[in-house]
Symmetry: C2
Subunit: 418 residues, 2 copies
Amino acid sequence: MDIKQYMQGVGKRAREASRIMARTDTATKNQALLKIADLIIESQDKLLEANALDLAAAKTNDLDAALLDRLELTPERIKSMADGLRQVAELPDPIGEISAMEERPSGIKVGRMRVPLGVIGIIFESRPNVTADAAGLCLKSGNATILRGGSEAINSNQAIAACIKEGLLSCGLPGNAAQVIETTDRAAVGELLKMSEYVDVIIPRGGKGLIERVSKEARMPVIKHLDGICHVYIDDHADIDKAVKIAYNAKTQRYGTCNTMECLLVAENIAEPVLKKLAPLYEDAGVEIRGCDKSQKILPGITSASDEDYHTEYLAPIMSLRIVSGIEEAMNHIQEYGSNHTDAIVTEDQDNADRFIREVDSSSVMVNASTRFADGFEYGLGAEIGISTDKFHARGPVGLEGLTSQKYIVIGDGHIRE
Amino acid sequence: MDIKQYMQGVGKRAREASRIMARTDTATKNQALLKIADLIIESQDKLLEANALDLAAAKTNDLDAALLDRLELTPERIKSMADGLRQVAELPDPIGEISAMEERPSGIKVGRMRVPLGVIGIIFESRPNVTADAAGLCLKSGNATILRGGSEAINSNQAIAACIKEGLLSCGLPGNAAQVIETTDRAAVGELLKMSEYVDVIIPRGGKGLIERVSKEARMPVIKHLDGICHVYIDDHADIDKAVKIAYNAKTQRYGTCNTMECLLVAENIAEPVLKKLAPLYEDAGVEIRGCDKSQKILPGITSASDEDYHTEYLAPIMSLRIVSGIEEAMNHIQEYGSNHTDAIVTEDQDNADRFIREVDSSSVMVNASTRFADGFEYGLGAEIGISTDKFHARGPVGLEGLTSQKYIVIGDGHIRE
């Protein structure tokens, strides 16, 4: 197989399909989503068989337990894929939406119409459900998609792709509107990242190594976040009970997610009562605290935090802790060590809340809420294709709108420019 | 001078200044804009002196007349720079604007706040007024800017930069919020395009060579358009008078602008009466028509159009012409030869108008209006920093909003995720 030639073919077919998808009406797109959902349920046995091949290979290759878990399909996970597609069908269609047309002094009317981006490339690891989730969101937003899953999930992904293709074709849509790359050759990724004439944006979903490679090599825009070094800052004017609840939830509700708190900052004046309440809770949960000198005086048993700790996304029951003089030092710390993902302040002081919201340069900034809320579903986007910590185009959780653009439309009646 | 070290210093200072600009209130930003406008008027003699040096050097270097004209400052042009800054001061400030906060089922309130992009790099050629225009728009939108003008305008640009710096400082703002690169060494551009840690977006303004280089080398997003191969399509259902007026205006109102029509498409059924009226008008204006075989039968005197003609942005009194069977063929032609800039249909048929608007993939799509309207001022953006034909982030004329991003803000009252 000539990988370059194969990928060029994939790209060309995606571009052609994207033109048809861009003008497909909402009813047809929803019909296709529902049909794919039905086919996924009907194909449960086939999906489980394909998945069994992947699981067997993974075991032979000694993949670790966490990876095996992510790779596994179960009847519940298959149902949840189908449910996800049905939910996307229920979301409002952003395409074709026209902003208020405004009449200009010249007499022309000017507005903006929402349009698809075109072709979305998705590169992801292990979880086969991403195939259906991502293809569904791209389909609804009128885009074509090229999906490249992890080689360990190749059989599962192909089986899901077959359902998607059949669903598209049965509604008169191009089967190439969602293509899953059929080779596990890593060179295919390199080719995909070069094809800026066929791919309008790349969304990598996976570990830091993958995202770094994609950011470095891609010749087209990338929607991504690299790290989630999220902070909770407990201000001197915090309500201690709220502070304890939020700091505990932000760290312990789930350890492996990008919106989990990795570093707690506490104002000096309130540090003692807050930490005396929080530390036993963390201890019960088995969370290791790595703290600054001042915090070690209040909590003598904890480890010492290095500069590297403050730069670390643990994704584990470990957290760093620093006592700061107040909001100014807290914001400086976040600027220096943060990753522009999600940062929260706990305070009853409106001025400090306003300052934090305005000045902290993160994709989500929160007041008196757990960082764990930074999520497309929680924000009401209906679904999420990823989270962006960049400022260009989409920022924060990215739903259907992030997969679209707006063009200007101008309506005249023979108007010319004087 | 160590160019790399110098540019790193410029970048670092811009990043620091951008943090202060991001939290500067509207009144202070407007005060600075007005102060800079006053200083530009007061410094007229200094600006003309500096410009005289550039003009003298340009004449020695045998620059062509068009370039000399663009380079020249006059009292009127100086006044118009100052007026431009005063107009920007009057525009609404997009920064800090919060979209409707919506309460989610969890109880948190979620909204979006408009924030600056950070540091904007502008690379431009010859016209010194861009220094003031671009710095003004970046200042108003809370960004810091690094400006790199053409070497032929170095003295003029430095003189304008001095006014900007003094204006910023006199309002308590960082003088480094708008830095003009002080060296004409071309290596400085290469360094600028590499500094993705300090520069959030690059906007090249100039010829195709410049824009191609910037697109190729930039390690950060670029807001740009490469070509303006704009079409007017006269549909079979067009009003002939409107069609003639629009097609004439779109080509002849100005030849050198990116929204000038370069190719006219006419539906076969209406071609004869339309072209018989249009051709003499173009002839009087001295416009050369290069047409397809069918159009040569109606207008026997015209030149024959090659495939390359249809790919050409003439920026001159030359145009290509093709007779098409109808809207389908017109849209196919635009897709194949267009540059996604601005394309217009002239028609009285609502269905064809709707189809054209929806399906033509250009940054501006027009019905019964001249392509010459594709402009930030005409669209009511107040000003324009450039035009983007890309789909990512900003599309079409880019005003203040295109220099901003939106972050999510979340307000809770001790809310945690269950």
